[in-house]
Protein backbone atom coordinates (compact mmCIF):
# COMPACT_ATOMS: atom_id res chain seq x y z
CA UNK A 1 0.00 0.00 0.00
CA UNK A 2 1.30 3.37 -0.98
CA UNK A 3 0.31 6.40 1.03
CA UNK A 4 0.88 8.57 -2.05
CA UNK A 5 -1.91 6.75 -3.88
CA UNK A 6 -4.29 7.63 -1.04
CA UNK A 7 -3.26 11.29 -1.15
CA UNK A 8 -3.85 11.51 -4.90
CA UNK A 9 -7.11 9.56 -4.56
CA UNK A 10 -8.32 12.07 -1.98
CA UNK A 11 -7.25 15.10 -4.02
CA UNK A 12 -8.62 13.90 -7.37
CA UNK A 13 -11.83 12.43 -5.94
CA UNK A 14 -12.35 15.67 -4.03
CA UNK A 15 -11.62 17.79 -7.10
CA UNK A 16 -14.32 16.00 -9.14
CA UNK A 17 -16.85 16.66 -6.38
CA UNK A 18 -15.68 20.26 -5.99
CA UNK A 19 -16.15 21.00 -9.69
CA UNK A 20 -19.59 19.38 -9.57
CA UNK A 21 -20.59 21.41 -6.53
CA UNK A 22 -19.43 24.69 -8.10
CA UNK A 23 -21.38 24.00 -11.30
CA UNK A 24 -24.41 23.08 -9.18
CA UNK A 25 -24.27 26.25 -7.06
CA UNK A 26 -23.24 28.77 -9.72
CA UNK A 27 -25.32 27.68 -12.73
CA UNK A 28 -28.87 26.50 -13.41
CA UNK A 29 -27.81 22.96 -14.21
CA UNK A 30 -29.49 20.22 -12.14
CA UNK A 31 -27.65 17.28 -10.58
CA UNK A 32 -28.82 15.06 -13.45
CA UNK A 33 -27.33 17.43 -16.02
CA UNK A 34 -24.04 17.59 -14.14
CA UNK A 35 -23.69 13.82 -13.72
CA UNK A 36 -24.56 13.22 -17.40
CA UNK A 37 -22.03 15.90 -18.34
CA UNK A 38 -19.35 14.26 -16.20
CA UNK A 39 -20.04 10.91 -17.87
CA UNK A 40 -19.70 12.43 -21.35
CA UNK A 41 -16.52 14.26 -20.29
CA UNK A 42 -15.09 11.01 -18.88
CA UNK A 43 -15.89 9.27 -22.16
CA UNK A 44 -14.11 11.94 -24.21
CA UNK A 45 -11.07 11.93 -21.88
CA UNK A 46 -11.09 8.14 -22.17
CA UNK A 47 -11.14 8.32 -25.96
CA UNK A 48 -8.15 10.67 -25.87
CA UNK A 49 -6.30 8.23 -23.61
CA UNK A 50 -6.08 10.73 -20.76
CA UNK A 51 -8.47 9.12 -18.29
CA UNK A 52 -6.51 5.84 -17.95
CA UNK A 53 -3.49 7.96 -17.01
CA UNK A 54 -5.53 9.66 -14.31
CA UNK A 55 -6.56 6.21 -13.01
CA UNK A 56 -2.90 5.17 -12.84
CA UNK A 57 -2.09 8.27 -10.85
CA UNK A 58 -5.08 8.57 -8.54
CA UNK A 59 -6.58 5.07 -8.36
CA UNK A 60 -10.01 5.22 -6.75
CA UNK A 61 -9.90 9.03 -6.98
CA UNK A 62 -10.48 8.48 -10.69
CA UNK A 63 -12.42 5.18 -10.68
CA UNK A 64 -15.06 6.22 -8.11
CA UNK A 65 -16.45 9.42 -9.76
CA UNK A 66 -19.17 8.88 -12.36
CA UNK A 67 -16.82 10.16 -15.10
CA UNK A 68 -15.14 6.77 -14.76
CA UNK A 69 -18.33 5.17 -16.10
CA UNK A 70 -18.00 7.10 -19.37
CA UNK A 71 -14.34 6.17 -19.60
CA UNK A 72 -15.03 2.48 -18.92
CA UNK A 73 -17.73 2.38 -21.64
CA UNK A 74 -15.28 3.86 -24.16
CA UNK A 75 -12.42 1.53 -23.14
CA UNK A 76 -14.73 -1.49 -23.46
CA UNK A 77 -15.93 -0.38 -26.90
CA UNK A 78 -12.41 0.41 -28.18
CA UNK A 79 -10.67 -2.71 -26.85
CA UNK A 80 -13.31 -4.99 -28.37
CA UNK A 81 -13.22 -2.99 -31.63
CA UNK A 82 -9.47 -3.65 -31.76
CA UNK A 83 -10.14 -7.40 -31.59
CA UNK A 84 -13.21 -7.80 -33.78
CA UNK A 85 -13.62 -4.61 -35.82
CA UNK A 86 -16.58 -2.22 -35.98
CA UNK A 87 -19.02 -4.71 -34.44
CA UNK A 88 -16.86 -4.70 -31.31
CA UNK A 89 -18.16 -1.21 -30.53
CA UNK A 90 -21.53 -2.84 -29.84
CA UNK A 91 -20.38 -6.08 -28.24
CA UNK A 92 -17.69 -4.54 -26.06
CA UNK A 93 -19.65 -1.53 -24.84
CA UNK A 94 -20.60 -2.97 -21.44
CA UNK A 95 -17.60 -5.26 -21.01
CA UNK A 96 -16.13 -3.21 -18.16
CA UNK A 97 -19.22 -1.48 -16.84
CA UNK A 98 -21.47 -4.48 -16.42
CA UNK A 99 -20.28 -4.78 -12.81
CA UNK A 100 -21.60 -1.33 -11.92
CA UNK A 101 -24.91 -1.69 -13.77
CA UNK A 102 -25.58 -5.20 -12.48
CA UNK A 103 -24.69 -4.19 -8.92
CA UNK A 104 -26.96 -1.13 -9.11
CA UNK A 105 -29.91 -3.18 -10.45
CA UNK A 106 -29.53 -6.11 -8.02
CA UNK A 107 -28.79 -4.10 -4.90
CA UNK A 108 -31.37 -1.47 -5.88
CA UNK A 109 -34.03 -4.13 -6.33
CA UNK A 110 -33.40 -5.89 -3.03
CA UNK A 111 -33.04 -2.67 -1.04
CA UNK A 112 -36.38 -1.53 -2.49
CA UNK A 113 -37.93 -4.86 -1.44
CA UNK A 114 -36.60 -4.71 2.11
CA UNK A 115 -36.92 -1.01 2.96
CA UNK A 116 -39.79 1.46 2.67
CA UNK A 117 -39.45 5.09 1.59
CA UNK A 118 -38.72 7.48 4.46
CA UNK A 119 -40.84 10.55 5.09
Amino acid sequence: MEWKMYLFAFLVGGAFALVGQLIFDLTNFSAGHILSGFTVAGGILGGLGLYPKLVELAGAGATMPIASFGNALVQGAISEAKRTGVIGVLTGMFELTSTGITAAIVFGFFVALIFDPKG
Binding site: A9, F10, G14, Q21, D25, I44
Partner: protein, 156 residues
Protein backbone atom coordinates in the same frame (compact mmCIF):
# COMPACT_ATOMS: atom_id res chain seq x y z
CA UNK B 1 -34.35 28.58 -15.05
CA UNK B 2 -33.66 31.23 -17.74
CA UNK B 3 -36.73 33.11 -18.93
CA UNK B 4 -38.29 32.26 -22.24
CA UNK B 5 -37.35 35.22 -24.48
CA UNK B 6 -40.47 34.73 -26.60
CA UNK B 7 -42.72 35.70 -23.67
CA UNK B 8 -43.88 39.30 -23.51
CA UNK B 9 -41.53 41.72 -21.68
CA UNK B 10 -41.88 42.27 -17.94
CA UNK B 11 -43.81 45.26 -16.69
CA UNK B 12 -42.04 47.76 -14.43
CA UNK B 13 -43.70 46.27 -11.33
CA UNK B 14 -42.70 42.76 -12.28
CA UNK B 15 -39.12 43.87 -12.84
CA UNK B 16 -39.00 45.62 -9.50
CA UNK B 17 -40.48 42.52 -7.85
CA UNK B 18 -37.95 40.20 -9.46
CA UNK B 19 -35.10 42.41 -8.28
CA UNK B 20 -36.55 42.51 -4.78
CA UNK B 21 -36.85 38.72 -4.65
CA UNK B 22 -33.34 38.28 -6.05
CA UNK B 23 -31.90 40.43 -3.27
CA UNK B 24 -33.92 38.71 -0.54
CA UNK B 25 -33.35 35.07 -1.48
CA UNK B 26 -30.33 33.85 0.53
CA UNK B 27 -27.35 32.94 -1.61
CA UNK B 28 -26.01 29.41 -1.11
CA UNK B 29 -22.81 29.41 0.99
CA UNK B 30 -20.59 28.66 -2.02
CA UNK B 31 -17.32 28.29 -0.16
CA UNK B 32 -18.71 26.04 2.58
CA UNK B 33 -20.55 23.84 0.03
CA UNK B 34 -17.46 23.58 -2.16
CA UNK B 35 -15.23 22.65 0.77
CA UNK B 36 -17.64 20.03 2.13
CA UNK B 37 -18.07 18.54 -1.36
CA UNK B 38 -14.28 18.35 -1.75
CA UNK B 39 -13.83 16.67 1.65
CA UNK B 40 -16.61 14.11 1.16
CA UNK B 41 -15.66 13.44 -2.48
CA UNK B 42 -12.09 12.86 -1.34
CA UNK B 43 -13.22 10.69 1.56
CA UNK B 44 -15.34 8.45 -0.70
CA UNK B 45 -12.33 8.06 -3.00
CA UNK B 46 -10.08 7.10 -0.06
CA UNK B 47 -12.60 4.49 1.13
CA UNK B 48 -12.83 3.26 -2.47
CA UNK B 49 -9.03 3.02 -2.63
CA UNK B 50 -8.98 1.07 0.63
CA UNK B 51 -11.61 -1.37 -0.68
CA UNK B 52 -9.66 -1.68 -3.97
CA UNK B 53 -6.46 -2.48 -2.04
CA UNK B 54 -8.24 -5.02 0.15
CA UNK B 55 -9.49 -6.88 -2.95
CA UNK B 56 -6.10 -6.54 -4.60
CA UNK B 57 -4.17 -7.97 -1.67
CA UNK B 58 -6.59 -10.64 -0.41
CA UNK B 59 -7.68 -12.03 -3.79
CA UNK B 60 -4.42 -11.56 -5.65
CA UNK B 61 -5.92 -9.28 -8.30
CA UNK B 62 -4.15 -6.56 -10.25
CA UNK B 63 -5.08 -2.96 -9.43
CA UNK B 64 -7.15 -2.82 -12.61
CA UNK B 65 -9.06 -6.05 -11.87
CA UNK B 66 -9.72 -4.97 -8.27
CA UNK B 67 -11.44 -1.78 -9.47
CA UNK B 68 -14.64 -3.55 -10.52
CA UNK B 69 -15.49 -5.35 -7.24
CA UNK B 70 -14.55 -2.14 -5.43
CA UNK B 71 -17.09 -0.18 -7.50
CA UNK B 72 -19.72 -2.85 -6.77
CA UNK B 73 -18.93 -2.61 -3.05
CA UNK B 74 -19.30 1.17 -3.07
CA UNK B 75 -22.62 0.80 -4.91
CA UNK B 76 -23.69 -1.70 -2.23
CA UNK B 77 -22.76 0.76 0.54
CA UNK B 78 -24.57 3.62 -1.24
CA UNK B 79 -27.66 1.46 -1.75
CA UNK B 80 -27.85 0.35 1.90
CA UNK B 81 -27.26 3.89 3.21
CA UNK B 82 -30.09 5.10 0.98
CA UNK B 83 -32.38 2.29 2.15
CA UNK B 84 -31.93 3.12 5.84
CA UNK B 85 -32.33 6.84 5.14
CA UNK B 86 -28.82 7.87 6.17
CA UNK B 87 -27.64 8.86 2.67
CA UNK B 88 -29.90 11.90 2.41
CA UNK B 89 -28.83 13.13 5.83
CA UNK B 90 -25.14 13.03 4.90
CA UNK B 91 -25.83 14.37 1.38
CA UNK B 92 -27.42 17.47 2.93
CA UNK B 93 -23.89 18.46 3.98
CA UNK B 94 -21.80 16.63 1.41
CA UNK B 95 -23.77 17.79 -1.66
CA UNK B 96 -21.92 16.72 -4.80
CA UNK B 97 -19.30 15.02 -2.61
CA UNK B 98 -21.63 12.03 -2.42
CA UNK B 99 -23.43 12.54 -5.74
CA UNK B 100 -20.46 12.57 -8.10
CA UNK B 101 -18.93 9.21 -6.98
CA UNK B 102 -20.73 5.92 -7.78
CA UNK B 103 -22.44 6.18 -4.40
CA UNK B 104 -24.58 8.90 -6.02
CA UNK B 105 -25.42 6.55 -8.91
CA UNK B 106 -26.54 3.91 -6.37
CA UNK B 107 -28.53 6.53 -4.46
CA UNK B 108 -30.38 7.70 -7.57
CA UNK B 109 -31.33 4.10 -8.47
CA UNK B 110 -32.44 3.12 -4.95
CA UNK B 111 -34.29 6.35 -4.16
CA UNK B 112 -36.23 6.06 -7.43
CA UNK B 113 -37.00 2.37 -6.74
CA UNK B 114 -38.25 3.23 -3.24
CA UNK B 115 -40.25 6.25 -4.39
CA UNK B 116 -42.18 4.24 -6.97
CA UNK B 117 -42.51 1.09 -4.86
CA UNK B 118 -46.19 1.83 -4.24
CA UNK B 119 -46.81 1.57 -8.00
CA UNK B 120 -45.90 -2.10 -7.79
CA UNK B 121 -42.88 -4.27 -8.44
CA UNK B 122 -43.20 -4.29 -12.23
CA UNK B 123 -44.34 -0.80 -13.21
CA UNK B 124 -42.93 0.86 -10.10
CA UNK B 125 -39.63 -0.64 -8.98
CA UNK B 126 -38.85 -2.46 -12.23
CA UNK B 127 -39.50 0.33 -14.72
CA UNK B 128 -38.82 3.47 -12.72
CA UNK B 129 -35.58 2.38 -11.06
CA UNK B 130 -33.56 4.19 -13.74
CA UNK B 131 -35.75 7.28 -13.95
CA UNK B 132 -32.80 9.39 -12.69
CA UNK B 133 -29.75 7.25 -13.45
CA UNK B 134 -31.00 6.43 -16.95
CA UNK B 135 -29.72 9.68 -18.44
CA UNK B 136 -26.19 8.91 -17.24
CA UNK B 137 -26.32 5.51 -18.98
CA UNK B 138 -27.88 6.93 -22.16
CA UNK B 139 -25.41 9.78 -22.56
CA UNK B 140 -22.48 7.58 -21.56
CA UNK B 141 -23.36 4.89 -24.11
CA UNK B 142 -24.07 7.37 -26.93
CA UNK B 143 -20.73 9.09 -26.27
CA UNK B 144 -18.87 5.78 -26.13
CA UNK B 145 -20.59 4.60 -29.32
CA UNK B 146 -19.55 7.68 -31.29
CA UNK B 147 -15.98 7.59 -29.96
CA UNK B 148 -15.73 3.82 -30.48
CA UNK B 149 -16.99 4.18 -34.05
CA UNK B 150 -14.47 6.94 -34.84
CA UNK B 151 -11.78 4.71 -33.36
CA UNK B 152 -12.83 1.61 -35.25
CA UNK B 153 -13.24 3.35 -38.61
CA UNK B 154 -10.37 5.82 -38.68
CA UNK B 155 -7.74 4.99 -36.09
CA UNK B 156 -7.36 1.21 -35.83
Amino acid sequence: MPRDPKKKPLTVEQKRYTEMVRDLVPKPPYLRNALLAFLFGGLVAVVGQLVTDIYRLTMGLTAKEAGNPAVATMIFIGAILTGVGVFDKIARYAGMGLAVPVTGFANSVVSAALEFKREGLVYGVGSKMFILAGSVITFGVVTAFVIGLIYALFII
